[in-house]
């Protein structure tokens, strides 16, 4: 059976990241089509729109099918150029801004300044959160823990670092993370001064089979990666978290985004997603 090809273009006068984020979620609803995805960012002039239209034409000729365009364009003039080109055009902004405008009895702004969003405090807090989180990765230091919003704990390779960075980058949350090492498990005690910050602690666990797989990629055939050892570490780590009354979740089949959203929810942190600098 031949799987039909279909080109999908995410077209934006900004980064195109918003269009691509929603677009990927939409395409995930459909099996049986080979989507070829192209992001066309910074389409902010008639000339760039013309070039984009030429690329779309070529893709349609190759596919033998019209393309699907997902637009986050503020300019009505440039939007009209794509809407008239014969492709299926999904206007991700206009579809909803007109409904919101009617609801609020307001006109949507025709131009969204970029700099107004990077000069603000939210953006600086976010960069500060990234710096804080990097400086407190993997138990590097015990100092400054009073400034952490969350302190993640878990055995080596349970997903602490990517989760910490995601929380910092997207929600401006300051995260410290600490490995629970075999010595901690022997003593059945949390590392360093973590008990002083009990209300900030959150645990990550993982299925031993998956942990063994991940550790084997790093240190093949080591005691560190052996399934038996992973089983033992995980069992003791869960026991330690229970005895210290630390909430934890299993990272095994969850994406970084899911883990981050669950931590925010369970710790009752009100962090809002940081606005993107540009759509």
């Amino acid at each position: 059976m031949v799987i039909p090809k279909r080109s999908v273009f995410f077209i934006s006068d900004g980064t195109g990241i918003t269009a691509e984020t929603l677009g990927l979620s939409l395409l995930a609803h459909f099996d049986g089509v080979a989507f070829r995805q192209v992001r066309l960012p910074f389409i902010d002039s008639r000339e760039k729109a013309q070039e984009a239209l030429a690329r779309i034409d070529m893709a349609e000729a190759e596919d033998g099918q019209r393309a699907i365009l997902m637009l986050t364009l503020v300019s009505t003039e440039i939007r009209a150029m794509f809407e008239g080109c014969g492709a299926l055009t999904l206007d991700l902004f206009g579809t909803f801004t007109s409904q919101i405008a009617a609801e609020l009895s307001l006109q949507p702004a025709a131009f969204i300044g970029m700099s107004r969003r990077t000069a603000n405090n939210e953006y600086r807090e976010r960069i500060e959160a990234i710096n804080y989180t990097l400086a407190h990765d993997d138990g590097i230091t015990d100092s400054g823990l009073q400034d952490a919003d969350v302190i993640l704990v878990g055995v080596s390779r349970s997903g602490k670092t990517p989760t910490s960075l995601y929380l910092a980058m997207h929600f401006g949350i300051r995260v410290a993370n600490y490995p629970i090492i075999p010595e901690d498990l022997e003593r059945m005690e949390l590392p360093g001064r973590l008990r002083e910050y009990r209300n900030k602690l959150f645990g990550l666990s993982i299925e031993p089979e998956r942990l063994s797989l991940i550790r084997n990629e790093r240190l093949p055939n080591s005691q560190y990666a052996a399934l038996d050892n992973c089983r033992k570490e995980i069992q003791l780590a869960r026991q330690l978290m229970r005895s210290e009354d630390i909430h934890w979740l299993d990272s095994t089949s969850r994406s970084v985004e899911e883990i981050a959203a669950m931590i925010l929810q369970q710790m009752n942190l009100k962090a809002a997603l940081m606005p993107y600098g540009s759509a």
Copy 2:
């Protein structure tokens, strides 16, 4: 003048991050309203939907206005519960999946498995890219540079680290980054073995005034942060990048997302956004 309040709920059976990402872009079109934003993730049962509806009721009573709901819900049953509640309901998925379904002559899937997206290679590549990028932050090591997709260079505090992490986290790009330090500028030579990887190099510059501000937050009243010194470093760094024929951009009033998207575009990297583990 009293600014009217309006509650906006991002409601999802997944993380709610897609809804919030598009939602913030939509709300940015409107000035003059104080939006109160609430993310309600993991609404995947009738019970959780009921709880959410109770929160919406309370917010509407407080605002004296109906709420705006932005939904990324796969279940038609749960979606219907919100659509019948009297709030302005924007169905971010269904609005477009029905158009795409008609175009493709396919039915949208009613359930999007989460694990299918974290078990795949893309997800593992992304985690590997984060690990690579952390291990090659700030010129920590010269080894493994042949595996980098991009090597960022720039003076201290020009935005290299957040940009590197964003490229890794969202696009699965392996990034190494190198500070250009005063010693490099005196010799007018790139640090380490970077010349061997000229085709991977990309530069970040920044306006001296902004750089001085950022450095002053880190080391107040230092020579490092002095405006004169920043001016000199920036001028020499630009001279060095020109003489080494390195493409660069100015990070001053650009968000991390914008810088990342511009680097991908200018280096002609075809990286697609990594699909989120869940909407």
